[in-house]
């Protein structure tokens, strides 16, 4: 056997100096030839460890084998058996912490590029598949899904395939949740999300936009007056956290949620053709170092900011963002002020941001998260000029449903308490995704949506038995 290629086949991408001028997708995806070559790096393990790392348990060696055999339709069929949104997961899953982390090839070399292959198969299908989507004959009981992000879309897809009549309730004027408002176009083209939503609609899923459950209608009403046998709550982590430092309400300070929603969902980057404005700023500071922070920093560059700086209180090793995102940000010219904590946002007499006062940090003993706790260095305060600050230090669960649903148990963090199947303290109410776990990943939310769909099916069937 020929020696295995030690590194993944590189991902073709727009050069950094080009891509910071547009919102088009950064990476282009593998060609058929490269995909087949990369598939050859897979050892086809008898006991594939990669599958253990996948939150939805995709038959990874199976779909890679199909790619190797150039049976691309076969590959997508295997993927779709477990994952209804492969074009999305192939792009935004943190594979390095999941399947690829456990890949045997990865012990001595770079692991197989499982994520890139998943994306390849999904994109191939979008380009080539002529199969008409047939509506499901859904005649079963009614199930409501609250929220149309990754958890809700997955639950809806699974439930309609089981014959339930599914209605999704979405507060925004467009479905997709964080996939539409949060993740930028250059990382996840909105056309891909729209395609997946169209697919669900063709299956027969009913999507009600502009309905905010908890306000327009309550969860209780859905279960009683509206005749839904069960409800799945996938309302995500939409509540932005702020730093609680002086100056945070100055003009020019955004939550990452607001900054990204204005740009992605409301297309402020096409202002004034699209009507929603945004402050671009010459010098932008983004506080935080997760994926959302990287998205915000790279968005600021594309909007036309001259200088964008990530400000993070810990060191490089603790940055929660995916390595790939950090690398992309760096290539594009995002600067990093690490071990630096903002203590005050400075402003002028008109209420606009003019700068950020920070203090230098050093790493002390590990804290509850296992990461070394950052400690301020006395007397190390300094200021630097900025005119826009984006706060990207995390999001909490949206409190609207817990607030308006008596009897729904929540944790001290405001997340909905659910067991491993998604069942909550109210019979017939299931929950999953970020509203249960706190801010996590697209694939984990999808996994939760899928598990909850199974549990809802069981719940309704056992209830029907009892009634007989």
């Amino acid at each position: 056997m020929a020696r295995i290629r030690p590194t993944k086949h590189p991902m073709p991408a727009q050069p950094p100096e080009e891509r910071i001028k547009n919102f088009d997708e950064v990476t282009h995806g593998y060609s058929e030839d490269v995909a087949v070559q990369e598939a050859l790096r897979c050892l086809q393990c008898k006991n594939p460890r990669c599958v253990e790392g996948c939150p939805v348990g995709i038959d990874i060696p199976g779909f890679i084998l199909k790619i190797r055999e150039k049976d691309f339709q076969g590959a997508i069929d295997i993927l779709k058996d477990k994952n209804s949104l492969p074009a999305i997961c192939g792009r935004v899953c943190p594979q390095e912490d999941q399947c690829e982390k456990l890949c045997i090839v990865g012990i001595k070399n770079e692991p197989v590029a499982i994520g890139r292959l998943e994306r390849f198969a999904a994109d191939w299908e979008a380009r080539h598949s002529k199969a008409e989507v047939k509506p499901v004959e859904a005649t079963g009981p009614k199930v409501a899904v609250v929220g149309s992000g990754p958890a809700g879309l997955t639950a809806a897809g699974e439930l309609i395939k089981k014959g339930y009549r599914v209605t999704i309730f979405e507060a925004f004027h467009q479905p997709g949740g964080v996939l539409m408002y949060g993740i930028p176009e250059f990382r996840l083209p909105k056309a891909i999300v729209e395609r997946e939503i169209e697919y669900l609609k063709k299956l027969g899923v009913d999507i009600q936009l502009n309905v905010v459950v908890g306000r327009t209608i309550t969860l209780e009403e859905l279960l009683t007056k509206e005749g839904y046998e069960a409800v799945f709550v996938g309302t995500g982590a939409g509540l932005p956290y702020f730093l609680n430092i002086p100056g945070e309400n100055l003009n020019g300070v955004y939550s990452a949620n607001e900054f990204l929603t204005r740009t992605n969902l409301m297309r402020a980057y096409q202002f004034p053709k699209w009507h929603t404005p945004i402050h671009i700023g010459k010098r932008v500071a983004v506080v935080g170092a997760g994926n959302v922070a990287m998205d915000a920093a790279r968005t600021a560059l594309r909007l036309g900011a001259e200088e964008v700086t990530i400000v993070y209180r810990r060191s490089e090793a603790e940055m929660p963002a995916r390595k790939e995102e950090i690398e992309h940000a760096r290539e594009e010219g995002v600067r990093f002020k690490l071990l630096t904590n903002p203590v005050e946002i400075l402003g002028n007499e008109k209420g606009w941001v003019t700068g950020l006062r920070c203090i230098k940090m050093e790493l002390g003993e590990p804290d509850a998260s296992g990461r070394r706790r950052p400690v301020p260095i006395p007397g190390s305060e300094f200021e630097f000029p900025v005119d826009v600050v984006v706060v990207a230090v995390g999001q909490g669960p949206n409190p609207l449903i817990p607030r308006t649903t008596p009897g729904l148990e929540t944790s001290k963090w405001g997340t909905i308490v659910a067991d491993e199947t998604g069942a909550t303290s109210i019979p017939g109410v299931f929950a999953g995704g970020d509203v249960v776990t706190g801010a996590a990943t697209v694939i984990k939310a999808m996994g939760a949506g899928k598990i909850a769909a199974e549990a809802i099916d069981k719940y309704i069937k056992s209830k029907q038995k009892e009634e007989k």
Partner: protein
């Protein structure tokens, strides 16, 4: 899509719409608002609900044409549709103790104070209302307000109708006359609400104001509508829009409302 079944021009740039929205009308309460969008590329803006009719399944909106979206809204006629309408949002106004209420509406703020006065009146409160505008042409809902108030006073800045001066002059007079006032609900431009708050603070009269902050989603996600209340940061969309006027940082709110002034000028050019 929600159908406009009635449109009335209250003044040149002031329009009233009655909109079919049974889901919203069913649960709407005074103080709550809606988010709307009227164009495929449009922005989302909040508007306070000016009235609702649960049986007819309608809500009433009053919009002053101050920005691009309100101008586009102003071009819609009976039979047209509002593209996206979400609500009712925000917390209903909580009423302080006591049965003697003064409801003050300034300019377009007369619209959101109307359902407040109406509800209080229905519940048997003693409602004294004061409405004001720059000039008589911009006054509206006079009859409606009179119908839900034990007594109605009118003020105009230019004296073209009622008292020549501000709504606060009338409020001061009521206080001086020793009338019982347990609380005040005031909705209008920030300087008016601030003036009311400054006045009532001196006499320890509980005062509620309603804000029309800038926001994107209206459900607690963007935080663009943040406001400082008693030193704490609150979101107008989910904690408000009604707040204790004596704890509110009006100056900060005023500054935040000016955030996109430059962009608004660009929008005008683009239209």
């Amino acid at each position: 899509m929600n159908k406009i079944i009635e449109r009335q021009d209250l003044a040149t740039s002031l329009k009233k719409f009655v909109v079919e929205a049974p889901m919203i009308a069913r649960r709407a309460q005074p103080g709550q608002f809606v988010m709307l969008r009227v164009h495929e590329q449009g922005e989302r803006i909040p508007l306070t609900i000016a009235d609702f009719d649960r049986e007819r399944g309608t809500i009433t909106l009053v919009a002053q044409e101050v920005g691009r979206t309100t101008r586009l809204l102003g071009r819609l006629n009976e039979g047209d549709y509002i593209l996206d309408l979400l609500g009712p949002l925000g917390e209903p106004t909580a009423h302080p103790e006591g049965k003697n209420a003064v409801c003050i509406g300034g300019g377009v703020g007369i619209a959101p104070v109307y359902p407040e006065a109406k509800e209080l009146h229905q519940k048997g409160y003693n409602v004294t209302s004061i409405i004001g505008a720059r000039t008589s042409e911009l006054l509206f809902f006079e009859e409606e307000m009179a119908a839900v108030s034990n007594e109605l006073f009118v003020a105009t800045d230019d004296g073209s109708k009622g008292h020549h001066g501000f709504v606060t002059d009338i409020l001061q007079k009521l206080i001086d006359e020793g009338r019982p006032i347990d609380f005040v609900i005031a909705v209008g431009p920030i300087p008016m609400m601030k003036a009311v708050a400054d006045l009532t603070r001196k006499y320890g009269i509980k005062t509620i104001v309603s804000l029309n902050s800038m926001m994107v989603d209206g459900t607690g996600m963007c935080g663009g509508c943040r406001v400082t209340v008693g030193g704490e940061v609150k979101f107008t969309c989910v904690d408000g829009p009604s707040f204790d006027a004596h704890l509110l940082d009006f100056d900060e709110q005023m500054r935040r409302l000016c955030m996109y002034r430059e962009q608004e000028k660009m929008s005008e050019v683009d239209e």
